[in-house]
Amino acid sequence: MIGELAASFATMLAPYPFALIVLGTVLGIVAGAIPGLNGGMLIALSLPLTFGWNPLDAIALLVGMYVGSISGGLISASLLNIPGSPSNLMTTLDAMPMARRGEAARALQLGIIASFFGGVVSWMALVLLAPPLVAFALTFGPHEYFAIIFSALVLISSLSEGSMTRGLIAAMLGVLVALPGLDPVTAQPRLTFGFDRMLGGFDLLAVLIGVFAVSQLLADAAPGAKAEVIRLQSSRLVLSLGAVTRHWVNLIRSALIGTWVGILPGVGGSIGSILAYGAAKTLSKTPERYGTGCEEGVIASETANNATVGGAIIPMVTMGIPGSIIDVFLIAALTINNIRVGPLLLQDNPEIVYGFMSTLLVANVVMLIVMLVSLRGLARLMTVPKTYLIPIILLFCVIGAYAGNNRVFDVWVMFAFGLFGILFRVMRLPIGPFVIALVLTPLAEFNLRAALISADGSWLSFLQRPVSAVFVVIAGLLFVMPLVLPWVRRHSNRSAVE
């Protein structure tokens, strides 16, 4: 494994892939830093450009964007009090107060180094955990696969923002959007309503661009209050090593929390950073300082959100289950190159798995250098007016949706799903379960039908195999717990009062 990893590093450090990693990381940082843009939007728009590329080049660009965008949000969180992405939400609580009292550069540098540390720890987890997990996943059949995907969908829905009902509704709408087209077994049309263009189903890329980019841009078009922009003071851009290392316990704890949360399908950086921030505050001797410009808060949040990146790649390369929404795009990039993501990936395309590993570390190093060197220039991005950004990005959305299949129909699909995304916001439906269900449904259906065919149509067969039975029970518990727990709490409270 070490030899393959070293060979992969050599490949990714060749001039062309390395240039793509640098380009992706820089673009990701810029997208993360500009409020209204985010990593998902940038990667969705870049996907059409990677058609026909060598998959490793696509990985270099897209993983660079992933790492860059998660890290870039720190800049607007510190200088503008606007989290560049939901992952930077907790960072604003302490980075902005630090910036207001003249410590903007210190907050940014602590955040950048913490992000790098989180990225490296999650990279180590990816390298150490992926191979044994793949070996385990290779023993799975369609029963186990379906049970895992099913429990992942229930988990995503139950952990998403808002009520579980809304999470499940969003996931079910994702399933519905994945269904139109030809039945994979009988080739009968379903939910096509007589339109020939629907026989191939909705183009995944057009749906993703619509739901992520177009809906966000339309929402951003609404007038908002003018934000306070804090300028960096040029004389304070040097941070001693000791200023970082004295937070080593917080760094390690937050990195482990972020990596673990990243492994959970669809949970993502925002939950990781909230949990790490919460843990740091709870275990702190001075919890009252959190939220008033406390260095530990910035470090906990930024370490954890970057650590989710490596953690999220683990279930993707081992089982084909996206650990975060952005992993959905990475799966799409490989799928359009006829590479099937799952436990066979390490066996059939080991260079892809090792490519993810090496790119993740290189992108983190590039992110650290780029952000530390160009901090002052990046801070100026805060002043780019949305007025011009919104229509320009909309043009890129239209071309991106069209470029996949050269069909105007896909542009209409993108537009419709842009409005659909707005409806999601108004109805307070979480977007994560929708997108992940959309991607996982074909895989789930394939395995469900293969399992039923092999078991002569017996649904009980899912409970007769140990691994699938465990995951079905987990899914059942995840579904029932949020419904039962409030009742149990109410009942125990009543007993206590009596």
Binding site: T165, R166, R190, T387, V398, V408, G418
Partner: protein
């Protein structure tokens, strides 16, 4: 205009319930195939439609019982800009569909119109919007049509 969040959620639940029922009916209408094995073509469609209907009932129940559904939903003048942006985008895609104006000139017009709609209309702002529209369209033409050979329009 203000709507109660509870009323909106009930209405959304009813729409989702009807959508689920419609999907169920579509699934049931798919005729059986000789290739059907243990799981017919329409079963998954019916399953998804049925599950959506049940979840919609839960949403309605949640809304009726209160809980997380308190508050107001405001539809006011702030929605004018997103609506204007969406309308201009729709016109742009409509033009792409029927090919009335070549793609890149219409793209420049779209950027200019949205930038004007969202920003100020002072002479300097109009000039900047026009310059931004031309520069962005030229950049898109170079990147997509010249470099990546996306033939559009």
């Amino acid at each position: 205009m203000q709507l109660s969040r509870r009323g909106f959620d009930v209405a959304a639940g009813v729409v989702l319930l009807l959508l689920g029922a419609f999907v169920w009916r579509e699934g049931a209408a798919i005729p059986p195939s000789f290739l059907d094995t243990a799981f017919g073509t329409g079963y998954l469609v019916m399953l998804a439609g049925g599950a959506l209907s049940v979840l919609a009932c839960f949403l309605i129940l949640e809304a009726v019982r209160g809980g997380r559904t308190a508050g107001q939903l405001t539809f006011d003048a702030r929605l004018a800009r997103p609506a204007l942006t969406a309308s201009i985008l729709a016109l742009f895609v409509l033009n792409l569909t029927f090919g009335l104006v070549p793609f890149y000139p219409s793209a420049a017009a779209m950027i200019f119109a949205i930038a004007l709609g969202l920003g100020e209309r002072a002479p300097r702002a109009v000039a900047i919007a026009a310059a931004a529209a031309l520069a962005a369209t030229a950049a898109a033409w170079v990147v997509f049509t010249q470099v990546f050979v996306v033939l559009i329009g």
